[in-house]
Amino acid sequence: MDSFFVITSLLKIVGILVVILTMVSYSVFAERKVSAAIQDRLGPNRVGPAGLFQPIADMFKLLLKEDFTPRAANTFYYWLAPCLAVMPAIITIAVVPFGSTLFGVPMVIADVNVGILFVFAIASLGVYGIVIGGWASNSKYPFLGGIRSSAQMLSYELSLGLAVIPVFLLVGNLRLTTVVRYQVEHGWFIAPFVGDWANPWKWLLAIPMLISFLVFMIAIFAETNRLPFDLPEAEQELAGGYNTEYSSMKFALYFLGEYAAMITGSAVVVTLFFGGWYFPGIPDGSHGWIFGLINIAVFFTKVAVVIFLFMWVRWTLPRFRYDQLMRLGWLFFFEIALVNIFVVAAILPFIRA
């Protein structure tokens, strides 16, 4: 391991951490602004120009709040849980390629060959933060929230995993940089038309890929506890859900974790279906550092668009009932994702030929 690799990796880690944390605080702000716009309001506009310093004010407010630990809570786990909620969400970003190359350095922190498996493995840990938090609070509403989230996240992980298999059937490699590279050559997976225009099978492929995308997206909604499936934190039923007993920075960590998970989820969606850092017509970083920067900008713009989709859906749809959620997950998405794999597998030989 040479020092060049170590230094560039550290720089990348610091850079991506700064970007992600900024994005987290500003996505909270964006959420409030988007929700306001959708509901014909203006949203936060007092702190700074157009309310842009609101996240800083929010942070100070949360820091200054009383950090309360209920007497009946299991202190160790009560303190551990918020950290467990944030960590996986941020770690996952390590394997996502957020740019092509910059000065010859690949813009991905860890280009591991088990890419997507790593994402799933770490993202699944996110459930612990919620379940442990709900249990350690020793209070009935957080407990119910924790139980709900464990069942929900486990159920949807299934369709999450199955939905992306078609992508990897096509690519033939789990490495996420390879996935992006494949999309550079063959077009985004959401519209895989680039290259072989005449082949009708390629057009046929678009349908299962769209289904795959929809199932994956919906499963990500469920995984990040976003609104159509935000039963673990159903305010109206559970008085706030798993984070009811949390206050101050511990609550903020949960909040942070939720948005970090959302950003990571969006990053994975962008990498798998929207071509990652690739935008048609823009060359990669080997053609000059300016293109490397543009690629990174393209990636984060796409992530922002997907985050907007998250918010847009949140402020449009009402919450599912728990039985509907489970039925949808087990009896609909699971099957559809499974069938989808076979459909893509059947199309595959005609494309490769």
């Binding site: 959708i38 509901q39 449009t316």
Partner: protein, 176 residues
């Protein structure tokens, strides 16, 4: 007795959910877009935008004592307003006007006149009951303070809000 609520039979389009979801997304996007383009009417941004110019003449804001054109405090400390005030917000300490004064005939003046604005309900009864046209409800509505003591309007403050009232009956001028 059980009542069976007939559920509507959904066709395949409705059962698919997706068309309805897309329609809903379209509606919210329309609202989003309209606000960004400035087509939506939003709430008045209060401290920056105010509606003060449009307040009606009968608006009942903070009660205040007034002076007439001669600069005389019109209140004669009859204490009718203190008596009528439903939340008992008004407290008056009457004082004697010295015989050398131009308005010695009035006999009394308020030595202290306090209105507790925490108690005041802006009902306007003080204005209605006043035989001297000395107390009026003005259009000040943003009455704030950091302490309870600050929220009690003393005579000076009341006169400051009230100012000079023109066009009122000047009966004392004739009885000099």
């Amino acid at each position: 007795m059980t009542i069976t609520v007939p559920r509507p039979k959904l066709n395949w389009r409705e059962r698919l959910y997706l068309p309805a979801i897309v329609t809903g997304l379209g509606i919210t996007l329309k609202h989003f877009k309209n606000l960004l383009l400035g087509r939506t009417k939003v709430t008045m941004q209060y401290p920056e935008q105010k509606w003060d110019g449009n307040l009606p003449d009968y608006y009942r804001g903070a009660p205040a004592l007034v002076r007439d054109e001669d600069g005389r405090v019109r209140c004669v400390a009859c204490q009718l307003c203190e008596f009528i005030c439903p939340p008992r917000a008004i407290k008056i300490i009457p004082g004697q006007i010295s015989s050398s004064d131009r308005f010695a005939k009035v006999e009394k003046y308020p030595e202290a006149f306090d209105i507790d604005m925490i108690r005041c309900i802006y009902c306007g009864m003080c204005e209605e009951v006043c035989p001297e046209q000395a107390i009026f409800l003005r259009k000040d509505y943003a009455i704030t303070g950091y302490t309870r003591a600050e929220m009690v309007h003393h005579k000076d403050k009341l006169l400051e809000i009230g100012g000079v009232m023109h066009g009122v009956v000047l009966k004392w001028n004739k009885k000099k």
